[in-house]
C-alpha cells in the first residue's frame, strides 16, 4: 500500500469528481507531506489524551468517592480500577507524550526549521504514522475483549503480566504488549527519519551550531529512544511468548527470572523520560528567546548539557529497582549516577532563567506556557532527588510521592510543553492567530488546578499512601478523614482542569475559521519556519529553499535597528 498511492502534483488532477475525491484522501490521509503527518500525529495524540484524561477522571472519582457510581463510567470495580490506571499511564506516555512531542513537533518543525522541503524518507514517515494509528486502535480494542483490558500497571511486571492465571486478563495483556510493540516500531521509523533529515537535509549554509535547539533536542531524544528501545522490544517479544506460546522466560518455577523484565523495561523506561523531556525543553527554549527578545544564554552549553543528559540517561535506570530485589550494592552506583543527572538538568533550568535576564518579556499565551513549564518542571526535578537517593527511596518507593513527582515532570512535559508548542506554532500550522484571551483563560484554568491536584498527592505520599489501591478503606492509617479530604480536593481540581480543556478545543477549532490572518512571521522570530507561507504549501518553499547565514537566536543585536535578525537575511 505504501507504494501505491502517488502524491498529487500541484497542477492538474482535478478535472473529474473521482479524482477530486482521491485527492482528499491522498492529501489528508495518505499524504507523505511532513506537515500533514505532523497534524495526523497531533490530532491522534490529542484524541488519545482525551481518552487518557477520561480514565484519570474515572479512577480519581472512585478514589475520592469510593463506591459511588462515576458519571460516564459506572461502578469502578477493582479490575476496572487496575485497567484504568494501567491504560491511563500507557496512553499518556506512549500515545500522547511521544506522538505529540516527538512525532508531531518533530515532523512539523524539523524540515521547516532546517530549511528543506520534506523528510528524507517521506514514505517511511507515512508508514510510521499508519503503524502508530493501528497501534492506538489495537490498544483501545483491549477494552472490548473478554476479561477486559490489561491491569498490571504500565510497567507490566511479570509474573503478573506473563500469566493469565494471575492477571485474569488473558487477552488484554497480550493486546497491550502487541500495541506497545507496534507503537515502538512506529517511532523507530520516525526516529530514523528525524536524525537522517537533520543530518542530511540542512539548508545551504546551516552549520551544526546554527540548528535551533529544539531540533537538536528532538534529534538527541530520537537517538536516546532508538538506542534504548531494543532491549524492551526483546522483552516484549519474550513476554508475548510467555503469555501465548508457553515459554517461561519470566517464570521462576521453570528457571526464568521475573527481575529480568524490570532490567529490560527500565533500561528503556528511564531514557524514555528524557526522550519526552528534551523536545519540551527545546520548545521552551524557542519560545522564551522569542518573547524575551533575547539570545539564548550559552547556546553551546545547552547543547553540551543535552548530550550530557543523553549519556547519563543510560546509566541511571536501576534506580527504579532499588528495592526490587536487585543486589543492594548496585544501589550505591545508581544513587550516584542519578544524582549526577540532576546536574545537567539543573543547569538547563539555570540557562533558561538566565536567558530572561536583560530581556523585554511579553507575557503572551505561548510565553506563559513556556514559563510555567520551567517553574513546574523545577518542582518535578527537585522532588526527584528524594527518589534517586537510595536511603530515602526505601520509604518513598511506590507511594503517591512518586506519583506526584513524575506527574510534576510529565505534566509540564506532555501537557504544558504541548500547549506551549501548539499555541506558538498555531499561526504557522493553520495560518490564523488563536484568541489570546481564551488562551490565557485556558492557561490559568489548567495550571492552577494542576497544582491543586498534585500538591495534595505529595502530602498523601509523604503520609505513606501507596499506589494503585482502588479504595483505602482497608488501611486504617490511610482512611483518616483529612486524607480523604485531600483526595477529594485533588479529584475536584482534576474535574475542573478537564473542563477547562473545552476552552482550548473551542479556541483551537474556532480560530481555524474565525482567527485573524497570521501572516508569515507574527512573532517576529528568527528561525526558518517563519520565512515560509502560513500554512506552508507542500514543499514548504516553492520559490526555492532559504540560505542560512547565522545562528537562530540573534535577537536585539546591537548593530541592527530591528530587534530580530532572521537566519536567512544576508545582512
Amino acid at each position: 500500500m505504501a507504494e501505491s498511492i502517488e502524491h498529487p502534483g500541484h497542477a492538474g488532477g482535478h478535472d473529474a469528481p473521482h479524482d477530486h475525491e482521491m485527492s482528499f484522501w491522498s492529501k489528508y490521509i495518505f499524504s507523505t507531506d511532513h506537515k500533514v503527518i505532523a497534524m495526523q500525529y497531533l490530532f491522534t495524540g490529542m484524541a488519545m489524551g482525551l481518552i487518557g484524561g477520561f480514565f484519570a477522571y474515572a479512577f480519581r472519582m472512585q478514589l475520592a468517592f469510593p463506591g459511588m457510581e462515576v458519571p460516564g463510567w459506572g461502578m469502578v470495580s477493582p479490575a476496572d480500577y487496575n485497567s484504568l490506571v494501567t491504560n491511563h499511564g500507557t496512553i499518556m506516555i506512549f500515545w500522547v507524550a511521544m506522538p505529540v512531542l516527538i512525532a508531531a513537533f518533530g515532523n512539523f518543525l524539523i524540515p521547516l526549521m532546517i530549511g528543506c522541503d520534506d523528510m528524507v524518507f517521506p514514505k517511511i514517515n507515512r508508514l510510521s504514522f499508519q503503524i502508530f494509528f493501528v497501534s492506538a486502535i489495537v490498544l483501545l480494542s483491549s477494552f472490548f475483549v473478554p476479561g477486559g483490558a490489561f491491569g498490571g500497571a504500565w510497567t507490566a511486571y511479570p509474573p503478573l503480566s506473563a500469566n493469565p492465571n494471575y492477571s485474569l486478563t488473558p487477552m488484554g495483556s497480550s493486546i497491550w504488549v502487541v500495541a506497545v510493540a507496534l507503537e515502538f516500531i512506529a517511532f523507530l521509523l520516525g526516529g530514523i527519519n528525524f536524525i537522517t533529515t537533520a543530518m542530511n537535509a540542512r539548508a545551504p549554509g546551516m552549520k551544526l551550531y546554527d540548528i535551533p535547539i529544539v531540533v537538536w533536542m528532538i534529534v538527541v531524544a530520537s537517538i536516546l529512544f532508538m538506542a534504548s528501545v531494543g532491549p524492551l522490544i526483546a522483552g516484549a517479544i519474550m513476554l508475548f511468548m510467555d503469555q501465548n506460546i508457553g515459554t517461561h522466560f519470566f517464570d521462576p518455577a521453570y528457571g526464568g527470572d521475573p527481575i529480568l523484565w524490570q532490567h529490560l523495561f527500565w533500561f528503556f523506561g528511564h531514557p524514555e523520560v528524557y526522550v519526552v523531556l528534551l523536545p519540551a525543553m527545546g520548545i521552551t527554549a524557542e519560545i522564551i528567546t522569542v518573547f524575551a527578545r533575547k539570545k539564548l544564554f550559552a547556546y553551546r552549553t545547552v547543547l553540551y548539557t543535552t548530550f550530557g543528559t543523553g549519556v547519563l540517561s543510560f546509566t541511571v535506570w536501576a534506580h527504579h529497582q532499588f528495592i526490587a530485589g536487585i543486589d543492594p550494592r548496585m544501589a550505591h552506583v545508581f544513587t550516584i549516577t542519578t544524582l549526577l543527572i540532576s546536574i545537567p538538568i539543573a543547569e538547563m533550568c539555570f540557562v533558561y532563567v538566565a536567558t530572561l535576564y536583560g530581556g523585554s518579556i511579553t507575557f503572551s499565551t505561548p510565553m506563559l506556557w513556556a514559563l510555567a513549564f520551567i517553574f513546574e518542571f523545577l518542582i518535578g526535578g527537585v522532588t526527584g532527588i528524594f527518589l534517586g537517593a537510595s536511603g530515602s527511596d526505601i520509604y518513598f518507593h511506590d507511594t503517591y510521592f512518586v506519583l506526584a513527582h513524575f506527574h510534576y515532570t510529565f505534566f509540564p512535559i506532555a501537557i504544558i510543553g504541548t500547549f506551549a508548542g501548539v499555541t506558538f506554532w498555531y499561526p504557522k500550522m493553520f495560518g490564523k492567530m488563536m484568541n489570546d484571551t481564551l488562551g490565557k483563560l485556558h492557561f490559568w484554568g489548567t495550571v492552577i488546578p494542576f497544582n491543586l491536584i498534585f500538591i495534595p498527592l505529595f502530602v498523601l505520599g509523604a503520609a505513606g499512601q501507596h499506589r494503585r489501591i482502588y479504595n483505602y478503606e482497608h488501611f486504617p492509617e490511610l482512611s483518616a478523614p483529612w486524607m480523604q479530604d485531600l483526595r477529594q480536593v485533588a479529584t475536584i481540581a482534576l474535574v475542573v482542569m478537564l473542563g477547562m480543556q473545552l476552552v482550548f478545543f473551542y479556541n483551537f477549532f474556532a480560530s481555524m475559521f474565525r482567527g485573524k490572518a497570521a501572516g508569515k512571521n507574527p512573532w517576529k522570530s528568527n528561525t526558518l519556519e517563519w520565512t515560509a507561507d502560513s500554512p506552508p504549501p507542500h514543499g514548504n518553499w516553492p520559490e526555492g529553499l532559504p540560505n542560512v547565514y547565522r545562528g537562530p537566536y540573534e535577537y536585539s543585536h546591537p548593530d541592527r535597528d530591528d530587534d530580530y535578525w532572521p537566519q536567512n537575511v544576508p545582512s
Binding site: T335, S392, A462, E477
Partner: protein, 253 residues
C-alpha cells in the same frame, strides 16, 4: 517531615527521616532560590516601551559563571546527599543484626499475607511455629530478621511506620531486618501491584511488650498450620476477599 504523619516505630526510621529532611533542606534551598530569581526576573524585565533587551551571548566568562558556580555548588550538595543516603541504605538493606531475637517468615500470595512466627523455642520450621494471616506480632525493642517469599507474583512488604519497603519475589528468598521501638498496631501494605485484589491485601503489625508477646504465644496451640484470623483460612482468603471486593463496588457505601 514524615514523623508529622507517621510515628517513627523502628530504629532506622529516624535515619531515613533524616535523609529525607536533609534532601528537603538542600533542594528546598535551590528551589526557592531559583524560583525567587525566576519571578524577580519576570517582574524586573517585563516589557516596557522604549527599553530594548540586552544582547548577551552567555559565552563570556563573566556571564557563564552565573551558571557554573551554582553548578559546582549543586555538586557539593549532591555529595552530602549521596553520603547520607548510602549510609542509611547500608544500615537498612545490607547489614543484618548479629544476634537477632527471632527470624520470621513473610509469605505473600494473591491476595493475603501469611506470617510464620517461630514459636516459644525461637526457631523457624519447628513444630511450635505460629502461622497467622494478615497479622504479624513482634516484640518491641528486639531485632528481627525476616525472610520474604512469594507464592505467585511480585508483592511488596511495606511497613510505613518502620519506613521499610522490600519487594517480594517469587522464586527467591529475600532477607531483611527491623527493630521496633514503639508498641502499637500499624498497617502493613502490599506496595507492588499484584492483581485484582491488590487493594485488598492489608496486613497489620502488632508491636507489643515482651510480656504481651509471651502471653499471645502461650495462647496459641502449637503447630497451627491453618491458623484462623477473622474466620478465614489461608486458602480461602483470596476468593472471599475478591467476592467482598465486588460487593464493595456494587453496594455503594
Amino acid at each position: 517531615m514524615i514523623e508529622r504523619y507517621l510515628v517513627q516505630a523502628s530504629t532506622f526510621a529516624a535515619d531515613i527521616d533524616f535523609v529525607i529532611n536533609l534532601i528537603a533542606v538542600l533542594v528546598g534551598f535551590w528551589f526557592f532560590l531559583t524560583a525567587g530569581v525566576f519571578f524577580w526576573l519576570l517582574f524586573r524585565f517585563r516589557r516596557r516601551d522604549g527599553v530594548p533587551s540586552e544582547y548577551i551571548t552567555g559565552e563570556e566568562k563573566e556571564h557563564k559563571r552565573f551558571i557554573s558556580i551554582p553548578h559546582y555548588l549543586i555538586m557539593v550538595c549532591d555529595i552530602f546527599i549521596i553520603v547520607a543516603a548510602i549510609q542509611v541504605w547500608v544500615n537498612v538493606k545490607q547489614d543484618l543484626p548479629e544476634n537477632p531475637h527471632a527470624e520470621i517468615r513473610v509469605i505473600g500470595q494473591q491476595w493475603a499475607w501469611t506470617f510464620v512466627h517461630p514459636g516459644p523455642d525461637g526457631e523457624l520450621d519447628t513444630a511450635d511455629d505460629i502461622v497467622t494471616v494478615e497479622e504479624l506480632r513482634v516484640e518491641v525493642n528486639q531485632p528481627y530478621v525476616f525472610h520474604l517469599e512469594s507464592r505467585d507474583v511480585l508483592h511488596n512488604f511495606s511497613v510505613p511506620v518502620f519506613r521499610l519497603k522490600q519487594d517480594v519475589i517469587p522464586g527467591r528468598v529475600i532477607t531483611g531486618w527491623f527493630e521496633a521501638t514503639k508498641t502499637g498496631t500499624h498497617d502493613i501494605q502490599c506496595a507492588e501491584i499484584c492483581g485484582i485484589g491488590h487493594g485488598l491485601m492489608p496486613g497489620r503489625i502488632v508491636i507489643e511488650s515482651a510480656a504481651d508477646h509471651a502471653a499471645w504465644m502461650a495462647g496459641k496451640a502449637p503447630n497451627q498450620l491453618a491458623a484462623t484470623v477473622r474466620g478465614t483460612t489461608v486458602a480461602a482468603t483470596g476468593g472471599t476477599k475478591l467476592a467482598a471486593a465486588s460487593g464493595d463496588a456494587l453496594n455503594a457505601n
